[in-house]
């Protein structure tokens, strides 16, 4: 192992520090923000003016009509463009298909650009044309491969730099940028496109884009396409303070409109450059044009740059993390809360959820923490008996679907960390690295390469130093290594490690002192603590925790990893922010706490929910708990079910047991619901509301029996077939089956046939359910069934979905056809009992 940080690589072998190949001194100065750079304008608009038919593939013209492409480039060079952008926007293997190879197009396109006499040739990379998972079906790795092929082709053909543009999906922009960083040493410019409401189609804001892409190592970032320059200006101004690299703008010439059969854009060249001037004054140093612009626009922009130098820019020094849709930024001195609940250590239900692969509970924990005010969520999937890497990757994707909070990727396994942060659409916080040389050399490169913030624990080969000075020494080592890799100080978060007061009463003071020392001796660096350990072994722990937290805030603690649902924490956090003025005029504090007394606190949360129980059942409430539960299930009112089920089961010997509640109460109620649905007295939402109510009951029983009293009736695998993304029907079936006591392994949508077969084999599953909504995906269903029949002949297959009928089902080789969810449950009963 080498101790020169410049040679450190991630577990996947990616170099942390990149050495750029920059064509000349001017471009070096551009990348340092010292010189302006003038790009070109629209290619598509120019091609259409020359007769390109709508819907034709413009990239093929590089092969069929290179003179025309070269002419357009040359007209931009004549107008003053220093950079021309190759005609390769959609030139990826998926879009080109059989028409040409990626290499052919880039070879030809770069020749055309080079022949124009331009100073620099920018290889253009546009979006893949497909939406990435989880909204679409394209895997992150597949998108990366498409981009990587373009990057290698363009580099080999002699491009001078890359321009990744018109990105609406931050994950896709990330895949493209990683493809450049990992396959070329040329500079990467990245621009995204925004809508009138200041977000991309997928909800990314300019701030999120700037923070994420500059952390990820974009050499230039900015905005293209979108809107006219007047409307792009305020968006680019929101980017500027967050971008640690030069910022570029290539706006449209306003909106297209038509006059006598010809398309015109609303903004004229002079007006355009006037709006661009505002952006240049604000600090934009690379300009050009997008849809609707022409050489005249570029000529005006050239005039604009005469006798100017790039404006100075003030950058924020906040600690930042992002999700695709949300920025969390803490200015120096501001405090933040990281939710600790998604960590199986000592949490039985979470362990069960991770083991079973049924993540409903994990999702509810995320939502509850977000509602309680967490700003970042810790995600840990460290259980010895599961595949931590795969689970972590899946959890990160699912959590990104239910919350916009940025995530803290928590693992001791560097490979799992790298897998999770690679496809994460944002700037994650990694938890953690420490002072051990081996960890420094593997985890810090991950943080650098993928643009993450990083938690550094103050422990090393000799363990946790007992003194504050000892902890500071380890922190120095970590920060020095991070500095050497070029990780900004504000992205480094030192954890001085909380120890229990009950084992060593000197520790709390040492920890508080360590926080103070780190903040003083390592300026810019942030600190974090997992607080609750301090009270281990003591009674009324929350009081000790909150007191310790307040003391740590006083010493300069920036981030606390806590259970955000604990009111004592919320109290300490809110009071601290009121005292420091972070909560301006203590407004938030007063709103929350006006009228609060200690007496109220203890009962507040329980009291609110209670009246609903009696109230909703009302005067004509049925006499027995059995009847009341049946009534609640049939009317689909879930709120009161848990209480009634507890009453039914009770805790004394005379009470009914769990199996009684299931087999004699909940299941018969569900059967009755099924019958009513069958007869048409209930329609789908009623069926589902009843299933929800029953589920609330099952959840209580599962808790009460602590896993022992409830036997599974069998396991069923469910999937929406490859190519199909309509999963509602499958989700309804899953819900119903779960409520009949089956374990369901839900493989999701767009599922590869082999994954279905592997899962069925691995768990020796006797029943698999497949759904397809579109005729185009029925062949994938047939393929999956065929594979199952060969690899798992014991497994029966049930199919359903809008396009299917009994004949079609038989044709694709299914054993059963279910016309609706209720029928699926009946078939499951027939097959599994």
């Amino acid at each position: 192992m080498s101790s020169d940080p410049k040679s450190w690589v991630t577990p996947q072998g990616h170099r942390a520090v990149r050495t750029l190949r920059v064509k000349d001194e001017h471009l070096s100065r551009v990348l340092a923000g010292k010189d302006f750079l003038l790009f070109d304008g629209a290619m598509g608009t120019q091609l259409q003016a020359r007769g390109l038919a709508a819907g034709e593939v413009p990239e093929l013209l590089c092969l069929t009509n290179p003179d025309q492409i070269r002419e357009i480039h040359a007209s931009y060079v004549a107008a003053g463009s220093e950079v021309v952008t190759t005609n390769t926007f959609g030139a990826n293997a998926m879009k080109l298909g059989e028409a040409a190879t990626v290499e052919q197009i880039f070879d030809a396109a770069i020749s055309c650009a080079r022949a124009s006499g331009a100073r620099y040739v920018a290889a253009d990379i546009g979006p893949t044309g497909a939406l990435l998972q989880p909204m679409g079906t394209l895997a992150f790795d597949e998108a990366y491969e498409l981009f990587a092929q373009q990057v290698r082709a363009a580099d080999a053909a002699g491009a001078d730099l890359f321009i990744i543009e018109t990105m609406a999906d931050l994950a896709e922009a990330k895949a493209a940028l990683l493809a450049v960083k990992e396959n070329s040493d040329l500079p990467a410019f990245v621009t995204m496109t925004f809508d009138e409401d200041g977000r991309t189609f997928l909800g990314t804001t300019p701030e999120v884009a700037a923070v994420t892409l500059s952390a990820l190592g974009a050499d230039v970032l900015g905005i293209n396409c979108s809107l006219g320059p007047e409307d792009v200006a305020p968006l680019i101004e929101r980017m500027l303070p967050w971008a640690s690299c030069p910022v570029m703008a290539q706006a449209n010439a306003g909106l297209p409109h038509v006059h006598e059969g010809k398309t015109y854009y609303s903004i004229k060249p002079l007006e355009y450059s006037h709006a661009v001037k505002r952006m240049v004054r604000a600090g934009v140093s690379i300009i050009g044009g997008c849809c609707g612009t022409s050489p005249e626009f570029i000529a005006q922009e050239k005039n604009l740059l005469v006798d100017r130098t790039p404006a100075g820019r003030a950058l924020n020094s906040h600690f930042t993390v992002t999700s695709a849709q949300q920025l969390v930024a803490l200015a120096p001195g501001e405090v933040g809360v990281i939710g600790e609940r998604i960590n199986p250590t000592g949490k039985k239900r979470l362990k069960e959820a991770l083991r079973s692969g049924n993540h409903d509970y994990v999702m509810s924990e995320a939502i509850n923490q977000a509602n309680a005010g967490a700003q970042i969520l810790d995600v840990n999937a460290g259980l010895p008996e599961i595949d931590e890497k795969a689970t972590l990757v899946r959890l990160v994707s699912e959590l990104s679907g239910v919350t916009t909070l940025p995530l803290q990727i928590d693992s001791a396994d560097p490979e799992a960390i790298e897998a999770a942060v690679r496809a994460y659409p944002g700037k994650a916080l990694i938890n953690s690295c420490n002072g051990k040389q081996e960890m420094l050399e593997t985890v810090l490169p991950i943080a650098k390469h993928y643009g993450c913030a990083i938690v550094g624990l103050t422990l090393d080969e000799d363990g946790i130093p007992p003194t504050a000075e000892g902890r500071l020494a380890v922190a120095r080592k970590i920060v020095a290594a991070a500095d050497a890799l070029g990780i900004p100080r504000q992205d480094v978060v030192i954890d001085c490690l909380t120890m229990a007061a009950s084992t060593d009463q000197t520790q709390p003071r040492e920890i508080i002192e360590a926080v103070r020392l780190v903040k003083r001796e390592l300026p810019g660096v942030r600190t974090v603590l997992g607080v609750s350990n301090v009270s281990f072994g003591m009674p009324y722990r929350m009081l000790v925790n909150a007191t310790f937290l307040t003391a740590c805030f006083g010493a300069g603690l920036d981030l606390a990893i806590v259970n955000p649902l604990s009111e004592r924490y919320q109290d300490a956090y809110a009071a601290w922010r009121a005292l420091t003025g972070e909560d301006v005029n203590a407004q938030a504090y007063i709103e929350t706490y006006a009228g609060r007394t200690d007496g109220v606190v203890a009962t507040a949360s329980g009291a609110a929910a209670a009246p609903a129980v009696g109230g909703s059942v009302g005067a004509k409430a049925p006499a027995t708990a059995e009847e009341r539960i049946r009534d609640l299930v049939l009317t689909g009112r879930k709120e009161a079910v848990p209480e009634e089920v507890r009453t039914l089961v009770g805790d004394d010997d005379a009470s009914h047991d769990v199996m009684y509640a299931i087999n004699e109460v909940l299941i018969p109620a569900l059967d009755e619901v099924g019958e009513r649905f069958e007869k048409g007295t209930f329609f789908l939402p009623q069926l589902m509301a009843s299933a929800e109510a029953a589920k609330a009951g099952f959840n209580v029983l599962r808790e009460l029996s602590a896993g022992s009293g409830m036997e599974s009736k069998g396991t069923i695998a469910l999937a929406t077939v490859k190519g199909d993304i309509h999963d509602i029907g499958k989700n309804i079936v899953r819900m119903l089956l779960e409520n009949y006591g089956y374990d369901v392994i839900d493989l999701g949508r767009d599922v590869d046939p082999q994954l279905v077969a592997d899962t069925v084999v691995e768990h020796h599953i006797k029943l698999a359910g497949l759904s397809a909504l579109m005729t185009t995906t029925v062949p994938a269903m047939a393929e999956t069934i065929q594979l199952l029949h060969v690899q798992a002949p014991w497994c029966k297959v049930i199919v359903g979905g809008a396009v299917l009928n009994p004949e079609y089902a038989e044709m694709v080789g299914a054993d059963y056809y279910a016309k609706d969810a209720a029928e699926s449950a009946r078939i499951a009963g027939e097959v599994l009992g």
Binding site: A130, P134, V402, I725, I732, T776
Partner: protein, 242 residues
């Protein structure tokens, strides 16, 4: 008409239509369900960003392929409309209005969130979104009706890839002709499904004479809420005001 891009105003959906998508056939709708339904509709209208791309092309020629399939070609457009059903739909048309409409991926993000947390909520939201995209498509179609009227032409109704024997394989070119990925964020999966899933593509014929049965009259017309012709007192039916 050359390319037109715009936001559409969809601020309500028909409750009865949402219920119909949910398989409702007169069953009792409890107050609880009514509340949840109203919440789903409100949430859908909040996250949806209905937008459309429209463009009209003149009909260039009508041919028949070697296998006997009719094919209609458009001027200045690579889109070819194949099949007997579309040939009938566009028989006599002098131009074709092409449209792509979407509610945006925010709706899919919400559907995914609900799929992980609230199955019933997902079903209700999906029904609301299906009703909303139909409304958005009506609004877009109304713009084509107005465009045709400006040229003294009359339209029939929208016809989508996948109807009859008009193959889904025309989707990539149709979307490319409207630059729909860049303008609307509409993409295709390898199996030619659109994402955002609440998206509609369609073509509408432009004719020199009013089309029988094309429009049932303003009072029963789905496009009435957006129709500029009706507002101007010159309905597309060509006849008297209704």
């Amino acid at each position: 008409m050359a390319l037109m891009v715009g936001q559409l105003k969809v601020d309500s959906v028909d409750r009865a239509e949402v219920l119909r998508y949910l398989g409702h056939r007169g069953q009792e709708v409890t107050p609880e369900l009514e509340t949840r339904l109203a919440e789903s509709v409100a949430r859908c209208l909040e996250v949806a960003r209905p937008r459309a791309c429209l463009r009209a092309f003149d009909v260039a020629e009508r041919t028949v392929s070697e296998t006997g399939v009719p094919e209609l070609r458009l001027a200045e457009c690579a889109l070819r409309l194949e099949g007997t059903s579309i040939a009938e739909h566009l028989a006599g048309a002098v131009a074709v209005g092409v449209m792509a409409v979407t509610l945006g991926v925010g709706v899919d993000q919400e559907l995914r969130r609900l799929s992980l947390t609230d199955p019933l909520g997902q079903v209700l939201f999906d029904a609301a979104a299906t009703a909303a995209i139909e409304r958005a498509a009506d609004a877009a179609e109304a713009l084509l009706v107005a465009d045709a009227a400006a040229r003294g032409l009359y339209t029939n109704w929208r016809f989508s890839p996948g109807y009859g024997d008009l193959p889904l394989s025309c989707q990539p070119t149709l979307l490319a002709a409207l630059d729909a990925q860049r303008r609307l964020g509409v993409t295709l999966t390898p199996s030619l499904l659109m994402v955002p899933t609440k998206s509609v593509t369609a073509v509408v014929g432009y004719f020199e004479v009013p089309q029988k049965g094309a429009r049932p009259g303003c009072s029963a017309c789905n496009l009435r809420d957006w129709c500029t012709l009706r507002r101007a007192g010159t309905p597309c039916t060509g006849g008297a005001k209704e």
